[in-house]
Symmetry: C2
């Protein structure tokens, strides 16, 4: 944040200069709203569909494979605190999170809609920085931001900026996928695309003022390239999830419950960075419950597991991919972990709230 | 609000019972999140696509006319205060606003995504009431809520509930529309679908504690049936807008600027309820700048104006439709109003903020 003053002087809010700060008038639908669009949003996101500035984006069906494929839609609000963190910010996170929800459904992301809820007092410099980050993330994932909205709330009724992104994608007609949390079968392998807990610990370290020998960064990244590579070698992947809030544990518990199967994980196989492990010990957290924003879990038929794992490892975002356990017919709905010292324990779904506002 | 206590005791927040209030754990992605989905969202919105509870909704291309039509996408955040007001609430408003953005682009709404940002301390009863209202509005408009998201922010970082709705629609292949803010031509007629300012004044009256002899209600309503009727008699409507924030004035100024034309309105032709007129005088507001949530403006070739107006008037949401002025080649980009006493004045775009958090 370049100028924290307005958020620190809540007791006596003075009028803010509208050329440096968000004011309520920026949400009026009048002149100030237009200036915001002209001076910040359009320069950041310019493209023919958005530039039309209609109330809705109209999209050529050719962008969705000419209509033969299935359409995929996903939406997520992002309320992460702080809005800037090592390895990303709320803007890149909002794009990656939405891209990843499409990707783990086997869809190719096509375009994004972004709705901003701005708190009076946010600096325009911070908003510009976030928009640049949104746009960079869209470019990297090959999607276009085609429509958006801005609302402004009074000081103390928001937290700088909340972003809701909605992603629209297509499952190409030729891509014969049937990915669902209910499709796991006994015998399937449980694959994880890389080190777990990086995002949650990176954000937490900023909040708590913890520093590491090597700086820990969020893993926030768009996974559509990785899923494309995986589906290329095995279209019949049974389940995919990106383990965000609630971590790997919640994602696997959801799959176990939806599929009516059990899962047995092996702790020694879980890829975890040494600094994440250390931070978790210090903070009393379990890495299995810590959020990831650039990782996925895949449940794969055993015959395909080797090929899928190899495809993951040859992609930059899957270098540390690992086979971490198996799907079993025993203890349906329950995930267990064989610990480093040999015991077995239940990995339940997160009961309360471990790290609020992590995404 | 059934129990305002948690919002009044900010100085000393006590732990909230999670069976009656939203707590941070409802946003954890763990057990409480699942309970919220199972106990509130699914009962309210149940349908096959949503019930799958995948990270994304997958939609049959047949719902989009088999792919030959164009896809329309729109997104809006809703931050209206208070969340319940005469004639609607934030839930119905969020659906109507998004439906209407699709409708004024000539699209048929198909489905909706809804993302909730809940403030810790919101009562579950209020959330249930809002969800019921969202669902009723979806039913009325013939759309399905197919995917969603929930985040929880700490007390004092939100305002009970913010909702971001994203609408997906289709412009059917046979519907040869070219509606754009840039398409107004000199000679065109300016049509308004009914009384203006109702929404803004209804919300303002609750905030300011103003009462009327007859209770004034928001006009919040889904306009897709009305636009279908209008396009049925005249596919070549030049422009349509729903004049929400910033009112009729801002919508017409946008069209005048985008089309490089002037507009001349006749004050005596503007449909305005007596109570709205009275409230505007009392509050020092101009009804042309007050938000509407169930009205539209259409710019129509003169030869079609009579037929379009008749089609509007025979629809329940267009009963009070009126021809309020004409598009002129003079004073490009400027909207003028011939007043009741005969003078002519410029109706500029809203400069500051008249009614914050109106939608």
């Amino acid at each position: 944040m370049t100028d924290p003053a307005p958020f620190e002087s809540l007791a006596c809010p003075a009028p803010l200069p509208q050329d440096r700060f968000i004011v309520l008038g920026h949400g009026s639908g009048g002149t100030l709203s237009h200036q915001l669009i002209q001076n910040i949003f359009l320069p950041a996101f310019s493209n023919p569909v958005l530039d039309a500035l209609e109330d809705q984006a109209t999209l050529d069906p050719a962008r969705f494979g000419g209509g033969a494929g299935r359409i995929a839609l996903t939406t997520d609000s992002f309320v992460v605190r702080p809005i800037f963190f090592p390895g990303g910010d709320i803007g890149s996170l909002a794009v990656h999170g939405t891209i990843n929800d499409l990707a783990v459904g086997g869809a190719e992301p096509v375009c994004i809609a972004a709705a901003f809820i701005l708190e009076e007092g946010l600096t325009l410099d911070d908003l510009r920085r976030i928009c640049a980050s949104v746009q960079a993330a869209c470019r990297e994932a090959g999607v276009t931001l085609v429509t958006g909205d801005t609302k402004v709330v009074d000081r103390g009724k928001g937290d700088q900026v909340y972003i809701t992104t909605t992603g629209l994608g297509v499952i190409p007609a030729g891509r014969d996928v049937a990915i669902s949390a209910g499709n796991a079968r006994p015998g399937d392998r449980v694959l994880v695309s890389g080190t777990i807990g990086d995002h949650g610990i990176a954000v937490m370290s900023v909040r708590e003022g913890i520093s590491f020998g090597t700086p820990l960064r969020s893993d926030s990244a768009p996974l559509s390239g990785l899923t494309r590579a995986m589906l290329g070698v095995c279209p019949r992947i049974h389940c995919m999830r990106d383990p965000t809030r609630g971590g790997v544990s919640s994602a696997l518990n959801e799959i176990a419950a939806a599929s009516g199967v059990g899962m047995k994980l092996t702790e020694s196989a879980l890829p975890i960075r040494a600094e994440v492990r250390a931070a978790c010990e210090m903070l009393g957290l379990d890495p299995l419950y810590v959020a990831n924003e650039g990782k996925l879990i895949a449940i794969v038929p055993p015959v395909d597991a080797g090929a899928v794992l190899a495809a993951m490892r040859s992609h930059p975002l899957g270098r540390d991919a690992a086979d971490v356990g198996d799907v079993v017919a025993d203890h349906a709905g329950v995930v267990t972990l064989k610990s480093l010292i040999g015991g077995e324990r239940v990995v339940a779904m997160l009961a309360g709230e471990q790290l609020p506002r992590i995404c």
